[in-house]
């Protein structure tokens, strides 16, 4: 019986259009600072959607408008039949938000924090308890079930925060750097849960600097820079423009100045003593001999030549690497 009701609900939900739509969202502070500038994007239920961009690009401003903490200067934000700008109460109920900052759970026991948030989010007692138990098991944090928040390591605290936010999720789940400090094994468990949320019909926003991780885990992504959406698509469609190119990374001797670049090298980015650039596949041999000469001249220590990644697209679009964002 329960199964058939659930199946019917699932059919009903599939029939309704629960897409998230932001249309030309603009947020201006103090009359001049355009923190968001005409951002338009849509996310379907079931999608994991990456929001990438350097610090100060306007990602958090966009998120705060989605969850009803800020009001756009102009533009629309809609979720299914709801206007989230006009109805911030609906926005809070329909969106779950995991901020990048630590959760305020120092004096809560782990299970208590998860269950209480589930109750606040509107779940009934029994169902919330079951679901909290499932999440604790799935994320392998049972060992700390009755531990106070202040005794948890950063990574475990992060997983508890994720569980709090998703124990009774909204239709939109916004996760800001969810894997920060999480160990590699549990990071994999976390990604499974994120994917399951999407399969269950949530639209998942992943706000991150971690381009490598995003490349593996998102269905589509947007790159935001200086308040504007400058690129959107699947990871492979965004990489299409870099097809036929290779990434050449030269590790310079510390303190060395950037050497003069040959004309066939793309726009370089320097992070610390790493010089990252792209070259045409046809120039691979030139690239190797140029890098080897730099090593021979004592300017560089080593180099790496490989396939371009989403990181290179990100560098091309924003002029930053994801690592230089603090």
């Amino acid at each position: 019986m329960a199964v058939s009701i659930e199946a019917a609900q699932a059919d009903e939900q599939a029939a309704a259009d629960w897409s998230f739509r932001a249309v030309s969202v603009t947020k201006v502070y103090g009359g001049t600072l355009r923190a968001n500038d005409a951002i338009t994007l849509s996310v379907r239920p079931g999608e994991v959607y990456g929001l990438l961009g350097p610090n100060g690009a306007g990602k958090t401003t966009l998120v705060k408008q989605v969850i009803g903490l800020l009001k756009p200067t102009s533009g629309q934000i809609r979720l299914g039949p709801f206007d989230l700008v006009a109805d911030p109460d609906a926005a809070r109920q329909l969106c779950s938000y995991l901020p990048q900052a630590p959760m305020p759970i120092d004096s809560f026991r782990v299970r208590e924090a998860i269950e209480l948030t589930g109750r606040i989010r509107g779940g009934d007692r029994g169902a919330v308890r079951r679901r909290a138990g499932e999440l604790i098991e799935a994320l392998d944090i049972g060992e700390w079930e009755n531990t106070m928040g202040q005794r948890l390591s950063g990574g475990i605290k992060r997983l508890v925060g994720f569980s709090m936010v998703t124990v009774w999720p909204g239709r939109v789940v916004i996760l800001d750097e969810p894997t920060n400090d999480v160990d590699p094994l549990r990071r994999r468990l976390l990604w499974e849960q994120i994917r399951l949320l999407a399969q269950r019909g949530c639209a998942v926003f992943l706000v991150t600097h971690n381009v490598m991780e995003a490349e593996k885990s998102v269905d589509r992504l947007a790159v935001i820079s200086a308040g504007r959406l400058i690129a959107e698509g699947t990871p492979s469609s965004l990489k299409a423009e870099d097809r036929g190119h290779l990434r050449l990374q030269v590790m310079l001797v510390p303190e060395a100045a950037t050497p003069p670049l040959p004309p066939w090298v793309g726009q370089p980015v320097r992070v610390g003593h790493n010089l990252i650039t792209t070259i045409d596949e046809a120039d691979a041999a030139h690239g190797i001999s140029w890098a080897t000469d730099l090593i021979g001249a004592g300017v560089a220590e080593e180099y790496a030549l490989g396939a371009t990644t989403l990181e290179d697209v990100y560098i091309r679009l924003t002029g930053h690497t994801s690592a230089d964002e603090g």
Binding site: E6, Q9, A10, E12, Q13, A16, W18, P45, I67, G68, L69, L70, K71, G80, F82, D87, P88, D89, R92, Q93, L94, Y97, L98, P99, Q100, A101, P102, M103, P104, D106, S107, F108, E112, L116, T117, R119, I120, R121, G122, A127, R131, E134, L135, E137, A138, T166, V167, W168, P169, G170, L189, E192, Q193, R195, L196, L197, Q199, R200, G201, C202
Partner: protein, 262 residues
């Protein structure tokens, strides 16, 4: 993959009384849990503050006049009732802003009025034990027998409400946590030093007494005193009105601060 599908995402938005009441219950539990490590300590400090005022004032005199003892003893409950909501409330919000957990707390799906009501309940609970103990100490030390009337109930509820809601509005309205700390320190200094809570307003210079007439603290003492003594307090109706008016100002400030989304 672990079988942990969870609930289907919601298709409706909750509204109405059940939503309000459920949020109120859950948030009250949230506050009590988040304060659990120092709620006990807070109560003890409150009791010591109350006892300190009640007993300390006697040290100004060789023999404290009965009227002075009664004034102090009936003023102390006001301090016990407003200190948590008016002083600690904004400081807790400031702390959330400093630790950047403010956005998460604000993103929780609860009606604003039920969130405020839950916080009011917690502040009231944190103040009441100290009120009772302070009065018992006053009885023991000065041999006062209070003429407690039912009027004490609305007086206590209103005093705690006005103190709490002004603090609530301040905490949310002031963006900078450092400024919040300064404002609350100024409030302690002004409200407990230069308002007629523990002494009669005719002891103040005329201009300060007039100024105080427009502020709620002296009036809070009047309505509490009216519920603890017979015939001592005057102008009770206007005092209720002024304390209630400040409550309305607190509500308006909170509504503006939480609704502005700027």
């Amino acid at each position: 993959m672990t079988a942990c599908a969870g609930p289907l995402p919601p298709v409706t938005v909750r509204r109405g009384v059940a939503y309000w009441a459920g949020s109120y219950r859950a948030l009250t539990r949230w506050h009590l849990a988040s304060l659990r490590m120092w709620l006990m300590l807070l109560t003890v400090v409150q009791i010591m503050t109350g006892a300190g005022f009640v007993l300390g004032f006697a040290l100004f005199f060789d023999h404290i006049p009965a009227s002075a003892a009664l004034f102090v003893s009936t003023g102390v409950p006001v301090i016990n009732l407003v200190v948590v909501g008016l002083i600690m409330g904004p400081q807790l919000v400031a702390q959330q802003k400093l630790q950047q957990s403010y956005d998460f707390v604000r993103s929780l799906p609860v009606p604003q009025t039920s969130a405020a009501a839950a916080w009011y309940t917690v502040c009231l609970l944190a103040g009441l034990p100290a009120v009772v103990v302070s009065l018992l100490i006053a009885e023991a030390r000065y041999g006062i027998s209070f003429a407690v009337s039912p009027a004490i109930v609305p007086a206590v509820l209103l005093v705690a409400f006005t103190g709490t809601i002004i603090g609530y509005g301040l905490g949310h309205a002031v963006p900078n946590p450092m400024v919040t700390t300064l404002v609350t320190e100024l409030l302690i200094f002004a409200a407990f030093g230069f308002t007629p809570i523990l002494y009669p307003s005719w002891q103040l210079p005329g201009w300060l007494a007039t100024l105080n007439w427009w502020f709620p603290f002296g009036h809070m003492a009047v309505i509490v005193r009216a519920g603890l003594t017979s015939g001592m307090a005057t102008g009770i109706a206007s005092s209720y009105l002024i304390v209630a008016a400040w409550g309305v100002i607190g509500v308006a400030l909170s509504a503006w601060a939480l609704g502005r989304r700027a």
